[in-house]
């Protein structure tokens, strides 16, 4: 421990700088820290572990090729990689029409009844605090965010599924995210009095 060039000692920002210098040990360390989370998100969205592996591989290769895309001042490396992963997984979902059709039918049935996407969504272990924050949202905001984020749908598709105006869905997503941010800031960091 403590050697100056020991990548395990580096913060994420310095790690990305080392990746920019083509240090594979730095990429390996980034994978050690965040590979599980990236894979977990890809698998939750895609269902298929093989496709999830492909997406995970792409995410880390993209970091290797373009480390300059990561701006430490804008957030953590974990966030950056998860955002990249989500975008790529959604691209794949949208390119995959047959799967989408099947899911839409399921979701449409669910949309009429007391909502049941939860089962599908929470199959994969979801962060407890995030689940709590999501759970505190008003139901319409929560549904819109779940369908969009975990279902990989556009807000237009969500509007159709929920039989709600597009403008309403847009603003539900936006206000839901704001509300979650406030709840996470309170509960995610431990209880403050």
């Amino acid at each position: 421990m403590g050697r100056r060039d020991d990548v395990t000692e580096l913060g994420d920002a310095a790690l990305v700088v080392a990746i920019g210098r083509y240090r594979q040990d730095a990429l390996a360390e980034a994978y050690r820290r965040h590979g599980g989370a990236v894979f977990g998100l890809a698998r939750r969205l895609l269902g298929d572990p093989h496709r999830a592996e492909e997406v995970t591989q792409e995410v880390f290769l993209r970091l290797w090729d373009r480390p300059d895309r990561y701006d430490a001042e804008r957030g953590s490396l974990r966030s950056f990689l998860l955002v990249t992963c989500h975008g790529r997984a959604v691209d794949l979902l949208r390119a995959d029409g047959s799967r989408r059709e099947r899911e839409d039918r399921t979701a449409q049935q669910a949309a009429g009844e007391p909502y049941d996407l939860e089962r599908e969504v929470w199959d994969m272990a979801l962060a407890d605090s995030v689940r709590d924050a999501l759970g505190e949202l008003p139901e319409p905001e929560r549904r819109a965010i779940e369908l969009a984020y975990y279902g990989g749908r556009t807000y237009r598709e969500v509007a159709e599924l929920l039989d709600a105006p597009e403008g309403t869905v847009k603003s539900r997503i936006r206000s839901g995210l704001r509300r979650m941010r406030a709840v996470l800031a309170e509960s995610g960091i431990g209880e403050a009095r």
């Binding site: 000692e9 990429l27 995970t56």
Partner: protein, 243 residues
């Protein structure tokens, strides 16, 4: 889609954009707007942080995936020890901490930005400082405990991280300076005792401390210099530590 939507219309789409829930044409339009509108950019980054928290899990990557990634790089893959360096925490806890880290990192970003606005020298000192590096390692470690000391009215917020070995780091940059003759003092609170963890001086920045006992909470007080053995002040800010 009507061309040339304005700030108001595009800002309504920022939440959907952060969830990758807009169509490609809209995405291009929004991102072009983000390049020129600082207000939307700030909001978009907040939404992205929440989106990333939604995507956080404690999943283990499948065996052999790193080797496949490394093999597709140009040179020979480096050896990778995938074993965790510290004891494993129960999954529930790791998940909670990972989510907390997202929020905390957002705060650290602000800290850096604030300093940059002040003086470059400060920024350089922070980045070069071995202490800052140690703190950032602790922040990145999922086995660390993280919390924010808050005052009742929310005006004082001091992030703190304690690594698995019990070394803590207080990111105290934004504490207001105290008048002459006063000092900040940090306290560790356990079930049956309150111990001083350090006298921080009137203008602390990044402070390291040792959490020598099992601590459930931290408290910050304003004391007469050079500090006291037992505080009689109400705490300025407190934090419960995650177990």
């Amino acid at each position: 889609m009507s061309a040339g939507r304005d700030h108001r219309e595009l800002s309504e789409l920022l939440g959907a954009w952060a969830l990758d829930a807009v169509e490609d044409a809209e995405r291009a339009e929004i991102e072009a707007h983000l390049a020129t509108c600082a207000r939307c950019r700030a909001e978009a980054e907040e939404h992205l942080a929440v989106a990333a928290a939604l995507g956080n899990t404690a999943a283990q990557p499948p065996a052999g995936l790193w080797e496949r990634i490394a093999a597709s790089l140009d040179d020979t893959p480096p050896p990778l020890a995938l074993e965790p360096r510290h004891r494993r925490l129960p999954r529930r806890l790791v998940v909670g901490l990972a989510a907390a880290a997202v929020v905390l990192f957002a705060g650290l970003g602000y800290l850096l930005v604030d300093q940059q606005r002040q003086i470059d020298r400060l920024q350089a000192a922070l980045l070069d400082d071995a202490l800052a590096r140690a703190a950032s390692v602790a922040l990145a470690d999922p086995d660390s405990r993280r919390a924010v000391l808050r005052s009742e009215d929310g005006t004082v917020q001091v992030p703190v991280v304690i690594d698995a070995t019990g070394t803590g780091y207080l990111l105290a940059d934004r504490l207001p300076p105290l008048p002459e003759g006063r000092t900040y003092q940090l306290w560790g609170v356990s079930a049956d005792t309150v111990v001083s963890l350090g006298v921080l001086g009137p203008e602390p920045r990044l402070v390291a401390f040792r959490a020598t006992i099992a601590i459930d909470a931290l408290a910050l007080t304003d004391e007469a210099a050079p500090g006291v053995a037992v505080s009689e002040q109400p705490p300025l800010a407190v934090a419960e530590l995650p177990v």
